[in-house]
């Protein structure tokens, strides 16, 4: 029982702590009395309430919730892709979703310059890229594992070169820096409306992935074995690819490219809880959320101007991965 509520409680703790971080000092007590006032449990002076509402609800909460959603989506989809491809080194970008979304975002910056359209374009191109990858993989009959990996590689390469074309044609003073900045990943531009839109499909996708947990255990033993165990291998694979692509494409459209979360978090969780996907997938979602909220706290408090979150996850992820490798090595042979 304690194990079931540990990660959710830790996540709530992380969110509360993250709200206190920032230029205007807030204590946990301030936050608690603000939320009490918000639901009408406790009175609060109007100007104080408006100040706190502005800081908490309009400035800090969107990026904290955004970090949580993106971290959960990347970690959970990473763990799911690792099971589908029977390879613990696979990251959510395996089927080309990141390459496609980058191209989509860059195209959006070039053509529209409007944030909502940029996000929509990133999301759509992420899906298109995975579609292209699957199409290539299935070109010569039913796709095998290796064909899926190759299809994803080809699709990612295609969209990366398309991204280069967009960068080359972009205006070097306004658009190009915007593209480069977007590719580094950022949680700064989020507001509550975007969070509300993205939260439902991401949460839905995470639940679907967790439901497939046991089937994924069987699938990670091989297609024939999964079938012999009564698991419809092909349907499970495409169901999981669909849900994982949806949540990772949404996460990229919210925050740009944030690397390493989808690789490192599932590894750490696997070492702590074992490889069973029924527990690994939900636990990775919670841990990914906590990790990215914490990383975001560092990114906006370590220097006067914030460090792009994508750079930070890379800096934090690489040493974490090296430490994990030392222990995980034994499990892979």
């Amino acid at each position: 029982m304690l194990r079931l509520v540990f990660l959710p409680l830790l996540l709530i703790g992380a969110i509360l702590f993250a709200i206190t971080i920032g230029r205007y000092p807030l204590s946990i007590g301030d936050i608690v009395s603000f939320f009490q006032a918000m639901v009408g449990l406790k009175p609060m002076a109007l100007d104080r309430y408006q100040l706190l509402h502005n800081i908490i609800v309009e400035i800090r909460l969107p990026r904290i919730l955004g970090a949580g959603l993106v971290g959960a989506a990347l970690a959970s989809s990473g763990a799911a892709f690792q099971a589908v491809f029977r390879n613990p080194l696979v990251s959510p970008g395996i089927l080309g979703v990141l390459g496609g979304a980058s191209f989509g975002a860059a195209l959006g910056i070039l053509l529209f310059g409007n944030w909502a359209l940029i996000q929509l374009s990133a999301f759509a191109m992420g899906l298109v890229a995975v579609g292209v990858g699957l199409l290539i993989a299935n070109m010569f009959g039913q796709a095998s594992m290796i064909m899926l990996v190759l299809g994803g590689m080809i699709s990612a390469a295609l969209f990366t070169s398309a991204l280069s074309i967009v960068k080359y044609t972009a205006d070097p003073y306004e658009q190009l820096p915007a593209i480069v900045y977007w590719l580094m990943g950022s949680l700064g531009g989020l507001d509550m409306t975007q969070i509300r839109w993205a939260a439902i499909p991401i949460a839905g996708g995470l639940v679907v992935l967790a439901l497939f947990g046991r089937a994924l255990d069987a699938l990670s033993m091989g297609d024939d074995e999964a079938r012999a165990l009564g698991v419809p291998a092909q349907q499970v694979r495409y169901g999981v690819i669909g849900a994982a692509t949806l949540v990772s494409a949404l996460s990229v459209s919210l925050a740009g490219m944030i690397g390493w979360v989808g690789l490192v978090v599932p590894h750490v969780v696997r070492l702590a809880l074992g490889p069973g996907n029924a527990r690994l997938l939900p636990a990775s979602a919670f841990s990914g959320a906590i990790f990215l909220i914490a990383a975001d706290c560092v990114s906006r408090s370590i220097t006067r101007s914030e460090i792009p979150i994508g750079i930070l996850t890379e800096l934090l992820g690489i040493p974490a991965f090296i430490i994990v490798l030392r222990r995980a090595r034994q499990g892979w042979t």
């Binding site: 046991r214 089937a215 074995e225 079938r227 012999a228 165990l229 009564g230 069973g276 029924a278």
Partner: protein, 271 residues
């Protein structure tokens, strides 16, 4: 719990034909597996054993002919209904993730619970039972990736038993096992057949077929060239035809057949 039928249904391939491109892999195969039988499928590499297994398990569709389970075509069963009747024991392999032995065996219960339901106490009891039956209960908490090849093979057999299926299809189960495990495994197969299960296994070793099988089928170039009781099938001329070596067969005092390769030996020094 194990509520499946007591005896296995008959698994039967009728005039099964399969081609890959222009190459004929299986040419009008007829083979039956009855309850309580251990049928050993002998054949060189590339004779079509794996393809035949994949067709019998419903992973591949034959180009012509059909596979029947009981009185129905295999194609009429759902994946899950099939898994409750036929279990597949692959060659011991390495899993990409270090699942515990008990969790690998628990996967066998998926056929019963369905993929979206969590395993219940009854499923865990069924796992304990089969682990004890195969005398590997002590392995339960160990990672599957860290046990020996023989232990892995037994784990995969335990998973097949946890499935509750009465028909076991085993792909070269003896490969890579040491002598002790080979003998123990053969004994397990005999015990399982004694409890009404039927077993189809492929093997490269005619000795194993002779020791455990109730029937031997010989697959050569995609056709069944012989099918019958071991004593009738295993002859020096068949071994010569299959493997290109000379042997003699003996019958020991208990009436069991022994195969002795006819080969020259280093002359004894008389020391």
């Amino acid at each position: 719990m194990m509520t499946a039928v007591v005896t296995a249904e008959c698994l039967e391939a009728r005039d099964v034909h399969f081609r890959r491109g222009a190459r004929i892999i299986l040419d009008d195969i007829n083979i039956r597996l009855h309850a309580g039988e251990i049928v050993a499928l002998l054949g060189a590499n590339g004779a079509g054993k794996s393809t035949l297994f994949r067709i019998l398990l419903g992973f591949l569709k034959p180009e012509r002919g059909e596979v029947r389970l009981g009185d129905r075509p295999l194609a009429e069963f759902t994946r899950r209904a099939l898994a409750q009747r036929i279990a597949y024991v692959p060659q011991a392999h390495v899993a990409p993730f270090p699942y515990k032995v008990q969790d690998v065996v628990l996967l066998g219960r998926l056929a019963e619970t369905g993929i979206f339901r969590a395993p219940q106490a009854a499923d865990r009891r069924a796992v304990e039972e089969v682990l004890e039956r195969l005398a590997i209960a002590h392995l339960a908490p160990r990672p599957y990736t860290e046990i020996s090849g023989g232990e892995r093979q037994l784990t995969l057999i335990a998973r097949a038993l946890a499935q509750g299926a009465r028909i076991l299809v085993m792909d070269e189960p003896m490969t890579g096992l040491d002598y002790g495990y080979q003998v123990r495994l053969l004994q397990h197969l005999v015990d399982l057949a004694g409890s009404g299960r039927s077993i189809l296994l492929s093997t490269h070793n005619p000795e194993h077929a002779v020791q455990a099988a109730t029937r031997i089928a010989v697959l050569r170039d995609g056709a069944i060239m012989a099918d019958g009781p071991p004593a009738d099938i295993i002859t020096p001329s068949l071994i010569r035809a299959l493997y290109g070596v000379e042997v003699s067969t003996l019958t020991n005092a208990e009436g069991r057949m022994v195969i002795v390769p006819a080969m020259e030996r280093v002359p004894s020094t008389g020391a």
